[in-house]
């Protein structure tokens, strides 16, 4: 029963999110709005019910698996990606590395300067 209750809560938030996204015609995916809705609900409620934790953490443990079906879709884009393969790969590698580095560096600097959030 707890799994069913928890799953219902997750699906309800997602549905609300989808309805809002469609109703307001914003380009934000429903589940992301659903995440914000659930966060607000938890803040108001003041705790995470056990049933929700059980199903939510179960799903998050296997998050990597859930990306596989969409990932296989790369096979459809093979031709499109192939036309510009060199600029695409070079751009992706360099830019992703830069983004990771800059973000992590800025955040750890700012965190250190504020002096309270850091670990060391």
């Amino acid at each position: 029963m707890p799994l069913i209750l928890g799953m219902s809560m997750l699906l309800a938030c997602q549905m609300l999110g989808e309805l809002l996204a469609r109703g307001l015609a914003v380009p934000i995916p429903g589940p992301v709005i659903g995440m914000v809705i659930l966060l607000v609900v938890l803040m108001v409620w003041g705790k995470v019910p056990n049933s929700l934790r059980a199903s939510g953490e179960g799903l998050l443990r296997y998050l990597t698996l859930l990306f596989v079906p969409a990932g296989v879709g790369v096979m459809v884009h093979g031709a499109l990606i192939g036309r510009d393969i060199l600029p695409i790969l070079a751009t992706l590698f360099v830019s992703t590395a830069l983004t990771l580095g800059v973000t992590a560096w800025v955040l750890s600097r700012l965190q250190g300067r504020l002096g309270k959030g850091g670990r060391q």
Binding site: Q14, P27, V32, G71, G73, I81, I88, T91, L107
Partner: protein, 243 residues
């Protein structure tokens, strides 16, 4: 005794979700095993390995992606509730998030500007086509948002989705080395950078390798980055005269 012919059995199997579901789970389990046997190297991420194994088997079985996805969509569907569930670790770590709100937002803006400007700059320099360029621009954002943005600015949504996936995989492969190079050890900072640069892939990897704190910050970064990019990118592209 009446034995069904092999091709009839195949017709049944390929029109049924069973085969795709089983293939997906087995490929994933196998990929996790292989990755473990190789010492958990980030260069052969289990997701990428599983995807490669599946593409290989689909080509061997002569099954097209649409048929495969008809079965695999049941796994894909769980991405929605899983995204919603990211609110749980965020709530658990709300104190730390609240304390760090300003640095987090600043890091997010810097990260997005770095991602978009380096992507557009490099791709222009290397002579990518216009629609490739516009499909590349939203590449560090989670795929449903990226597809929407690409469409808005004149890219190809399906190409954008493919590039988002590649970005995720590359981010997972590069992340650990870059953090080592910059001597960044805090799992929250690592998670945040992974979520910003490599969206859901980065978040999943943060949960799996760095734990719940990193996963929570990664999910947060993915959410904010998606929202901000959706609002900032279309006007930015217009401003640069690329639209």
């Amino acid at each position: 005794m009446n034995v069904a012919r092999l091709d009839q059995l195949w017709v049944y199997l390929s029109g049924n979700p069973l085969l795709s579901l089983l293939l997906t789970l087995v490929a994933f389990a196998l990929a996790v095993r292989i990755n473990k046997a190789l010492g958990g190297t980030p260069l052969l991420h289990p997701v990428m390995l599983a995807i490669a194994l599946l593409i290989g088997s689909l080509l061997l079985l002569d099954m097209d992606y649409a048929t495969y996805f008809e079965g695999a969509q049941f796994i894909h569907f769980l991405l929605g509730p899983a995204t919603v569930a990211l609110a749980i670790p965020l709530y658990d770590h709300r104190e730390r998030v609240r304390r760090l709100l300003v640095p987090l937002l600043l890091a997010c803006v810097t990260g997005i500007v770095t991602a978009v400007s380096s992507t557009l700059g490099l791709a222009l320099l290397l002579g990518a086509r216009h629609e490739t360029l516009m499909s590349l621009a939203p590449r560090s954002v989670t795929s449903p948002i990226a597809m929407g943005i690409a469409e808005q600015i004149g890219g190809i949504p399906s190409l954008a989705a493919g590039l988002v996936l590649l970005t995720g995989a590359i981010g997972c492969a590069l992340g650990p080395a870059i953090f080592r190079l910059l001597r960044i050890r805090d799992p929250a900072v690592q998670g945040f950078a992974m979520g910003l640069a490599a969206h859901g892939f980065g978040t999943a990897q943060s949960f799996a390798r760095l734990g719940a704190v990193a996963g929570a910050f990664s999910g947060l970064a993915m959410g904010i980055t998606g929202l901000m990019t959706a609002f900032l990118l279309p006007p930015l592209v217009n401003l640069l005269g690329l639209g």
